[in-house]
Amino acid sequence: MKLNKIAKVVLIGCSILALSACSSKHKNSGYDATGMNDMNTAGGAQASGAGNGQSYGDDGSNGTARGLAKRTYYFDFNSYVVRDEDKPAVLANADYLVAHPRAKIILEGHTDPRGSREYNVALGEHRANAVFDMMKGRGVNLNQVRIVSYGAERLATPGHSEQDFQLDRRVVIVKSQG
C-alpha cells in the first residue's frame, strides 16, 4: 500500500537525521560544520519566522561597566569622521582605558547594508580606526584595543529607511574578556 511506503521513507529519513544529529561536531563555539553527505534532507519542514522588527540586540548593550561613557557612535553616509558631539565620550572612554591599563575593549565597525559587502567591511574598519586614532592620541595603549569590522553583516535594524540606515552606521565599544 502506498502509505506504508511513504511511512517507510520518512522513518528511514528520520533515523538518518537522528544519526547525523548525534554525530554533528563542535557545538562548543556555537558553530557546526557539516558536509553535504552527512545531512539528509528528509523534507523536514522547520517552521521559523523571519522575525520582523526585532532588536538585533548585540551591539554594546552587554557587559556594562562602571565608568564608561556613551559607547555607540554614529556616522554620516560614506564617512568615517567622528562627529563633534561624540568626541567627549570617545575621550572619556579613552581616559578610562589610560587609567585602567589592564582593561581591554573591542571597537566594532559597522555600515548600512547598501553597496558591496566586502567594501563595507573595509569601510567599517575605517570607522573603528577613526575612533581608535582619537584614543591613541589620548594615550591609550595599542594592546588595549582590538578593531573588528562587521561591515553590513550585523545590522542594528532590519529596516531599509534612511533612519534605519543611520542606526546601522556605527562604531560600538565592547568590553573584551582579554
Binding site: 520518512v10 537522528a18 563555539s29 557539516t34 567594501y119 567591511v121 553583516e153
Partner: protein, 433 residues
C-alpha cells in the same frame, strides 16, 4: 501505527535542532521573446513508482531557463505521433520512460526528436537519444543531466542545470540573536544542505575551480577569518587569521592560490596566498581600500575594487608586469567585479544615482550596461553562471533578502524566494561533472 507516530515525533524534534533550510523556489518572471517551443511528454513509468517525476523536472528546468516555451504535463497527450506535437506548436519533443530494474535502481531512457524535419509519421530524426541506469537517489541528477543535453542541443550552449548555488541564510527569530548558515543547493533550489551554521556572520562564499571546496569568511572567532571547507565531507581548515580584516577569498584558476584581503599592515590590501606553502605575495601596496579580488580565466590578471580615486571603482593588475589600470568610469560606485567565462566582459555592482544595480562592461568596446534597472530596489553580490548565460545576485523582495537571476543580456529574469529566512551573498558553482 503508534510506533510510527513516535518515530515521526522523534524525527521532528531532531529536525528542529538542526539549521534552518532556506527552501528556495524558482519563479520565472521574464522569458526571452521567441523562446524555443518544445513538448516534454510525461515519461511512461509503467508499474514503477520512482520518488521523482523525471519529465516534470526536465520541463521545469527548461521552462525556468526562460529560453523555452514548454508544452508539458497535462497539456500534452502521450504516445502521439510527432505530427501531433508539431500541430500544437512544438518544434521538438522529448519522450522517455522510467523502468525499475531491481536493486532500487531505475533505467531512464529518453529521446529528443525534431518534429519539423521528419517528413512522415514516425519519421522524426532523433537529435539526442540516451539511456541511464541509476539508483533512486540520483533520479533528480539524471533529470538535470538530460536537461543539460537538451539545452546544449537546442541552444548551442552548455546547460547549467547540474550546477549548484552556495549562499548565506540569515535566520532572525523573535528575541533571539541571528543565526547564520552557509548552504548549498541544486541550481533549481532543491536539496539544500548546510555547510556551516553559526551564531556569527558568514560571508563571501567562493567555490574552488573543481567545485570540491568552498572558501568563506567566518566571524566565529569574534573577528573575520577565512576557512576552506570540503563540500562533500565538511572537513575544513583555517586559512587566514591575521589581525584585522581577513576577507574576500578568490581562487586562482589552477586552484593553487587564494587571493584575499588583509589589513594587517595598516589598511586593506590584496594578497595572494599559496595554499600549499601558506606563503603570501602582496599585490597592492597603498593606503586606499583595496578589496574584492577576482582572477581572469588565464590567471594573468587580478581585477579588484579600490577607492584610490575617491570612490570605489574596478581596477586591473597585470600580475606579470605589475601595471594597474582603471576599468570602470560609469557611475560613482563600482565594486565586486568578476570576468564572464569568455573573458570579454566583467559583471559588477554599480551605482549611478541612487540604487545599486548589477551591470556588465564590455571590455572590447568599453560599453557599460545596467541589467537590473527595473528592479526598483538595491541589488548586491553578482555571481555569473559557468556558461556565462545568467547572473545570480541578491535583491530585496517585499522587504526580505532573496536571490534572483538575470540573463547577461537582461532577457530572462528568475526570482528564487526562500520559504524560510533571508538569503544573501550567493555564489554559482563551476561545472561539476
Amino acid at each position: 501505527m503508534r510506533k510510527l507516530i513516535t518515530m515521526l515525533f522523534l524525527g521532528w524534534g531532531l529536525i528542529l535542532s538542526n539549521p534552518v533550510f532556506a527552501y528556495l523556489s524558482m519563479e520565472l518572471t521574464r522569458g526571452v521573446a521567441g523562446a524555443v517551443p518544445i513538448a516534454v511528454v510525461p515519461f511512461s513509468v509503467g508499474s514503477a513508482t520512482p520518488s521523482q517525476n523525471v519529465s516534470d523536472i526536465i520541463a521545469n528546468d527548461l521552462k525556468n531557463s526562460g529560453r523555452f516555451k514548454v508544452y508539458g504535463g497535462n497539456a500534452v497527450s502521450k504516445d502521439m505521433p510527432t505530427s501531433y506535437y508539431r500541430s500544437i506548436g512544438a518544434d521538438s519533443v522529448v519522450q522517455g520512460a522510467v523502468r525499475e530494474v531491481g536493486g532500487g535502481r531505475y533505467e531512464i531512457s529518453f529521446k529528443l526528436l525534431d518534429t519539423v524535419k521528419g517528413k512522415e509519421e514516425g519519421d522524426a530524426t532523433p537529435l539526442v537519444t540516451k539511456q541511464y541506469v541509476v539508483p533512486e537517489n540520483e533520479l533528480r541528477a539524471v533529470a538535470h543531466h538530460i536537461s543539460d543535453l537538451i539545452y546544449r542541443q537546442m541552444i548551442g550552449v552548455r546547460g547549467v542545470f547540474s550546477t549548484k548555488l552556495a549562499y548565506i541564510v540569515v535566520q532572525r527569530s523573535a528575541g533571539e540573536a541571528a543565526r547564520y548558515t552557509l548552504e548549498v543547493a541544486d541550481a533549481d533550489g532543491y536539496n539544500p544542505k548546510p555547510l556551516l551554521t553559526s551564531n556569527d556572520p558568514i560571508m563571501s562564499p567562493a567555490w574552488s575551480p573543481n567545485g570540491k571546496q568552498i572558501a568563506y569568511v567566518s566571524f566565529e572567532n569574534k573577528h573575520s577569518s577565512i576557512y576552506v571547507e570540503d563540500v562533500a565531507t565538511g572537513s575544513r581548515r583555517l586559512i587566514s587569521d591575521f589581525r584585522g580584516i581577513n576577507g574576500a577569498p578568490a581562487w586562482s584558476p589552477d586552484g593553487r592560490k587564494l587571493a584575499l584581503v588583509l589589513s594587517k599592515d595598516g589598511s586593506p590590501n590584496i594578497y595572494m596566498m599559496n595554499l600549499a606553502t601558506k606563503q603570501l605575495t602582496q599585490a597592492t601596496h597603498d593606503w586606499s581600500i583595496n578589496t574584492e579580488p577576482s582572477w581572469s580565466r588565464d590567471g594573468r590578471y587580478l581585477i579588484f575594487t579600490s577607492n584610490r580615486s575617491g570612490g570605489p571603482q574596478i581596477y586591473q593588475k597585470n600580475l606579470a608586469t605589475g601595471a594597474i589600470t582603471r576599468l570602470t568610469y560609469d557611475g560613482n560606485y563600482n565594486a565586486r567585479a568578476s570576468f564572464t567565462p569568455d573573458g570579454n566582459h566583467i559583471v559588477m555592482l554599480n551605482q549611478e544615482s541612487k540604487l545599486f544595480n548589477i551591470g556588465i562592461l564590455d571590455l572590447d568596446t568599453s560599453t557599460f550596461r545596467v541589467l537590473t534597472n527595473s528592479s526598483g530596489t538595491d541589488n548586491e553580490s553578482p555571481s555569473i553562471a559557468p556558461n556565462g548565460s545568467m547572473v545570480l545576485y541578491g535583491t530585496l523582495y517585499s522587504g526580505r533578502s532573496v536571490l534572483s537571476m538575470i540573463a547577461s543580456d537582461g532577457s530572462v529574469q528568475v526570482r528564487l524566494p526562500a520559504r524560510d529566512g533571508e538569503v544573501q551573498d550567493p555564489a554559482w558553482s563551476p561545472y561539476l561533472s
